[in-house]
């Protein structure tokens, strides 16, 4: 089976700095995989290359059989990639439900002229969109908060609203950029279960960037480790935990040597 996302030799340079350096990455349909790495390793830059925020300097990105590098973000989204952001980026002055409705854009078909005359097609579509938004709101556990301005929602609710908005596009693949950042252990573990449910019940392929090792090790099937834009390791959580390169990248060379014996059960 061809991978859902296939990034070949992706490079993104800013001036002389290669933020992502000849990076190869595949993810299969239905997987939950993670990309980890120290701050500034190029993880988010890679996300941006995949979603069209950046045009890769070199390399190719195939998604679901389409060559997408260099395309505008909205077209890539229409192929079925949704994402959330490291720093929550909701439409802060719009209500929760409006945020989700915006997320549903790729599915809506009516033209603005139809909105002027309010024909049947328009009314039906709006009705369905609203119902779908309600359903998603409930799905992420925000029922009853739909009419609140996003900006006024508590932090955890904002994270979940961002997820609901990403799901509204009915994506094939979801890119989550640090979904548990700023959450306490309980909330993180809730989020972990939720992500797994998304894959199991809705069938969405999930790619995570995450710092919380407990989450990463607990949920990922495959982990790719980046450092200075390069891929330094790849494998199952168990393989990654024992990988010397990875420990060196996180802790430095000396520390890696000292810790080598203790790595087995440290993270899980």
């Amino acid at each position: 089976m061809a991978p859902l996302l296939d990034a070949i030799d992706v490079t993104k340079s800013f001036g002389g700095l290669d933020a992502v350096n000849h990076f190869n990455f595949q993810i299969n349909e239905g997987a939950i995989d993670s990309i980890i790495g120290p701050n500034g390793a190029g993880k988010t830059t890679f996300f941006n290359c995949v979603t069209g925020f950046y045009v890769p300097t070199e390399g190719k990105v195939y998604f679901d059989g389409h060559e997408v590098q260099g395309m505008s973000t909205d077209r890539i989204t229409r192929f079925g990639i949704s994402r959330t952001y490291q720093n929550i980026r909701l439409f802060s002055q719009m209500t929760a439900i409006e945020n989700i409705l915006v997320g549903e854009q790729p599915r809506l078909k009516t033209y603005w002229v139809e909105a002027l005359v309010r024909n049947r097609r328009y009314k039906e579509e709006e009705e369905q969109a609203l119902q779908e938004a309600q359903r998603l709101l409930e799905f992420v556990g925000l029922k009853g908060m739909g009419d609140q301005v996003a900006h006024n929602l508590p932090y955890g609710a904002q994270r979940r609203l961002e997820l609901a908005r990403a799901l509204a596009a009915d994506p094939k693949m979801l890119l989550l950029d640090e979904p548990t950042a700023g959450m306490n252990p309980n909330e993180s573990s809730d989020m972990m279960h939720f992500i797994r449910r998304l894959r199991d019940e809705v069938g969405i392929t999930i790619l995570l960037i995450e710092h919380d090792m407990k989450v990463v090790m607990g949920i990922s099937e495959q982990i790719t480790v980046m450092d200075f834009g390069l891929k330094i390791a790849e494998g199952t959580p168990a393989e990654i935990q024992g990988n010397t390169n990875v420990i060196e990248a996180y802790l430095g060379k000396g520390a890696a040597a000292g810790l080598k014996l203790a790595t087995g059960g440290s993270s899980n």
Binding site: F53, L90, Q105, A115, V140, G144, G156, A157, R160, F194
Partner: protein, 583 residues
């Protein structure tokens, strides 16, 4: 010991601070000449003039601010004393002014001055001194001034500190009476249309309210607020059964529509012209509201589309040799709007990639280019250049030529209704959400699958269409158009109007334009000072309500169909189910 001293210390300092500010304001309006000029304009009887109102605005303001600052901190009595003190402090500056006038203007020789100060400050006259001393002579007058300002400071403080139904009643009564006095010309024009001269003579002496009607007006304002009439009506309305509520609402809509239709005949020629102008600005405001308020694209060259619509109407319908067709107003109108839309697309394309300030600068440039082109000889064979387009026919409907402000009002009214309709429909639709999300975060909305190019162009084009509509109506009303009519100030006025009203809010646009376009018209009698008053008003509004007078309300969209009669208050605090914890 120290603590006990500290509280009165800060209290007196606050009173001193606001007293000096209030005094400065009073001195400022005096030196500007406003006090003396407006002492000739009585508001109530012949004793309360606008001049005195302006003079005491400083001390009253000082009292209000002092009382506000102290309200939560010290005992109420302290606050009242302090506001009296603030009034007294503000009078001290006026005393200084008085002394300056007496010594350096009226009797410069005795003070040994070489020239009178009046050479530089033309408004420092003996007339002003007489107003400041109430015509009682310098010594007694100065005492009176101190007393007067002190009382006014206290009154300002009282306006904050008295308990509520009484406070609201007094404040509303005073404000309403002053308003009727200031806008007496407008009020009497309306009265003239409704009832003729007899009533006017009963209510007004020239422009001033007679004392007894003034008391009645005060009583009206007082009782409205004291008995909480608006709120009670609303609660009583909400207690009505659903069907009755709906019927009442429909009745109100019909009454409102009837009022809108009757207004020009109730208000007369002059006010109808003002209403016509306000209507044009509302159409433009609604258009710019789409571009700036919804889509978040700051467009300062909006007047270009207005000009385009006006010239399109001119060229299509004029009877001079510039006219290229002999269309009537009604057939030319859709063409003008379409031309505006097209022009919006043309101007939209090059600026698609620009954001924020850069967009503002470039559109500003476009606006100026259009005006200069309109002035140039180069285009003169097409649109008349500096000579403009003349002899544009008025609209004709059923054989009636709409050539008065009163009849043209209806054309504008139709335009406003059309613009509001389009705005509301689009706002609630997918396109409206696309615009708003683009305003909030352009990158993310693109990542939501929104095509920025078409969404932005649609905002520009629809906004431009509204503006062209307004321009076309203006051309047909005035019969002549000149390039000078389309300068930057129109763009700025429209923008200021929608910001004052509340960006993104349709009622806000209407209120904003009523204030920004309507007030200068109503204040015409105050000629040289009206833009000063208007500017001060703008600053005050923006300081007190930066989000605008009627900001956009968030719409309730989450259905609660499964829980009938559920109020938002019940719905809000609900424990999230399913995944994720909550902070």
């Amino acid at each position: 010991m120290q603590n006990a001293n500290e509280i009165p210390e800060t209290t007196s300092r606050i009173a001193l601070k606001y007293g000096l500010i209030g005094g400065l304001i009073a001195v400022y309006v005096s030196v500007l000449g406003m006090v003396e000029a407006f002492s000739l304009r009585p508001l109530v009887g012949d004793f309360l003039t606008l001049g005195y109102v302006l003079l005491v605005a400083g001390p009253i303001g000082a009292g209000i601010l002092t009382a506000r600052a102290l309200r939560d901190r010290t005992s109420r009595r302290n606050g009242e004393l302090a506001s009296l003190g603030a009034g007294a402090v503000s009078s001290s500056l006026l005393l200084v002014l008085l002394a300056v006038i007496v010594l350096l203007v009226i009797r410069p020789d005795e003070a040994g001055a070489e020239v009178t100060l009046q050479v530089m400050f033309v408004n420092l006259t003996s007339g002003l001194a007489e107003i400041l001393t109430f015509g009682l002579g310098n010594l007694l007058g100065a005492l009176m001034l101190v007393l007067f300002c002190t009382i006014m400071g206290g009154a300002g403080g009282a306006a904050v500190l008295i308990r509520d139904p009484l406070r609201a009643g007094l404040v509303t009564g005073v404000i309403l009476t002053l308003m009727v006095g200031i806008f007496s010309e407008t009020v009497s024009q309306v009265l003239q249309q409704v009832s003729g001269r007899v009533i006017i003579n009963l209510v007004f002496v020239q422009k001033s309210l007679r004392p007894i009607p003034a008391v009645l007006v005060f009583a009206l304002g007082f009782s409205l607020a004291y008995f909480r009439v608006p709120r009670r009506t609303r609660t009583r309305f909400q207690k009505l059964p659903q069907t009755r509520q709906q019927r009442t609402k429909q009745g109100l809509y019909i009454a409102g529509l009837l009022l809108l239709i009757m207004i020009p005949w109730l208000t007369g020629l002059f006010l109808s012209q003002a209403l016509f102008l306000i209507g044009l600005y509302i159409i433009m405001g609604l258009g710019l509201n789409i571009v700036v308020g919804y889509a978040g694209l700051l467009d300062l060259g909006y007047v270009a589309f207005f000009a385009f619509g006006a010239y399109a109407m001119g060229i299509l319908t004029t009877t001079t040799e510039l006219g290229i067709t002999n269309l009537t107003f009604w057939t030319a109108l859709p063409i003008c709007v379409a031309a505006g839309v097209l022009w919006g697309l043309v101007l939209g394309f090059p600026v698609l990639r620009l954001r924020g300030d850069y967009l503002a600068i470039v559109t500003l440039g476009f606006g100026e280019i259009v005006r200069i082109l309109a002035l140039s000889d180069w285009l003169a064979p097409i649109q008349g250049g500096p000579q403009g387009v003349l002899h544009i026919p008025n609209p004709v409907i059923f054989g009636i030529t709409l050539n008065t402000p009163q009849t043209m009002y209806y054309v504008v009214l139709l335009g406003v209704i059309l613009a509001a309709f389009v705005t509301i429909r689009l706002r609630d639709a997918r396109l409206g959400r696309q615009w708003m999300s683009m305003r909030e975060d352009e990158d993310v909305s693109e990542a939501m699958g929104i095509n920025l190019v078409s969404t932005k162009l649609l905002a520009f084009a629809i906004g431009a269409g509204f503006s062209a509509l307004a321009g076309a109506i203006l051309a047909a009303r005035q019969s002549t158009i000149f390039p000078h009519s389309f300068n930057l100030i129109i763009s700025l006025n429209v923008l200021a109007g929608i910001i004052v009203g509340g960006l993104g809010s349709i009622p806000g646009v209407i209120v904003g334009m009523l204030i920004l376009v309507g007030l200068p018209e109503l204040l015409r009698e105050f000629t040289e000072y009206r833009f000063l008053m208007y500017g001060i008003l703008l600053i005050v509004v923006m300081l007190l309500r930066p989000e605008g007078l009627l900001p956009e309300a968030t719409r309730k969209r989450e259905l609660h169909s499964d829980e009938p009669g559920m109020t938002p208050a019940d719905a809000a605090p609900m424990e999230p189910a399913g995944a994720g914890g909550q902070d």
